[in-house]
Amino acid sequence: MTSATIPSSATTTRARAQQTPQPARRRRPMTPGRIVALVILAILAVMWLIPVVWAAITSFKTEGEAAAFPITLLPENGWVLDAYITTLSAGLVPRWAWNSLLTASAVTIITVVISALAGYALSRFDFAGSKALLAVVIASIMIPGQILIVPLFQQMLTFNMVDTYWGVILPQVIAAPMVFILKKFFDQIPRALEEAALVDGASRLRILMQIVLPLSRPILGAVSIFVFIGAWNNFLWPFIVINRSELMTLPVGLQTVISAYGIQYAANMAQAVLAALPLIVLFMFFQRQIIKSISTTGIAGT
């Protein structure tokens, strides 16, 4: 998560430079075509937001009202915080949130560090076997991690990692697409910058840390966020490797509550809101950088 602190003078000026043509586009007059687009877009946005908004509203109802028939759109007995209080005071939800934060952060940090090192080597060092290595890494994208659950679980038994944080974290840190994306980004950074530093006697690692990585902040931010979202929301692997409730991540823990007690609408919706909030805040802060980095690095157009 540390690498998600993106905005620096370098990135913002670059972002601004790329945006210059946009204000002109934005201020175009409202032609009939644009009004139609606006209406369609508004209808679709409402469709996409209804489930979320309704869940958020329901989390402020009493349990009785949330389960009442016919359904009410707004809380008629007033907006209450009962669901949040129950969720946060009793049960393991705060603990699960902590587990999720811890494991997702660890996955993100380890993934970004090892992928950046490998991506840098593949981009800059002309070493024997580098082409073959890159080919193997790209080919491995084809292996769906989910089919490996059985041998991975067996391996975790051998390593005594069942029911541990490491058991959740370590198998999630290999992200071949991220190595490839970072390599492609590093390829675009002019070598002249590094050559000057090399002549001055700077080590390769120092060049990576002080020149290449600072220039790569937008892509590091985007990679970090996608890895973090993936790890925070991952269900199948933590579900398999964790059995003790205190060690469960939020998605797995919530699933056990729901299957054990049935759906308690207001409480579950409060839990859902609490589970989603950190990611929504994260995305709102960084959405512009994410889109910028996707478009400038060619993730979208190989």
Binding site: F127, Q146, I147, L236, Y265
Partner: protein, 315 residues
Amino acid sequence: MSATPVRARGSATPAPSAMREGLRLRRRAENLRGWLYCSPFLFFFVLFLVWPTISGLIMSFTGRTLTGANTGWVGVENYAEAFADPEVWSSLGNTLWFTVLSSIPLVVIALALAVLVNVGLPGQWFWRLSFFLPYLLASTVISLFWTWLYNPQLGLLNTMIGWVGIEPIQWLNDENWAMHGVVIATVWWTIGFNFLLYLAALQAIPDQLYEAASLDGAGTWRKFTSITLPQLAPTTVLVVVLQILASLKIFDQIYQMTGGGPAGATRPILQYVYEAGFTGYRLGYASAISYIFFAIIIVISVVYTVAISRRSVKP
């Protein structure tokens, strides 16, 4: 270590043999450095991807169970059993059917949403957030939302279609509707990722192309089909490939929304792998099913790649 190349380059009077020697040392240092930088990644790559891939394959030829008993070699017995197992075929069929049903809207609607947002209406951040927001939610959360929206009595969806006089639909309890219910929820949930890829690609198309087309008198639709779509072709190739791979791996939301029911109508192959291995304790058999599935994924990918490269060879 990294000072070596600089010094080698700077040395004043290199005798030919010393130069060759220096070059060789430099090469060796470069090789070492390359593998050193890759080693942390490679360590995990081998440990948690290459090795399980191999050990899973080996396991699929054994009678291994979760309790560790009966680990003997059984040859292709597991595979023979899997091919004769109707559950394998039906769950595989469900997975492929889900992939077809979900991939098409997830590509087409994502493109439409991105094009609409890219028109440049005010409130860009709001549109982006609206369509990307569900992607940020965990499968548990979206399954909770949708089981509740689909609830025959309390569900918002049936309430809303009731307003226009449609009879309530048993979205998740009716064999004919359950898969569609899961697909709708999945499209809603995951479209944000493809939407973002398309949006980024659209923003990278140079404005000059459109300006030139306008001067030539091209209309909106003409510009879309002659500029936008061709410019987006590489993105579409990528989006389709990622989408098919993602859809084939369906498990989370189905497991949580329907549990694979009603009557196995939505059960995907990964759920069958999970059940065979972790509730049926037959790791060897579960591995064999995994590898059959893996082989099918490879075939689909190869067919797709060949089809794409064929098409791009044509002028």
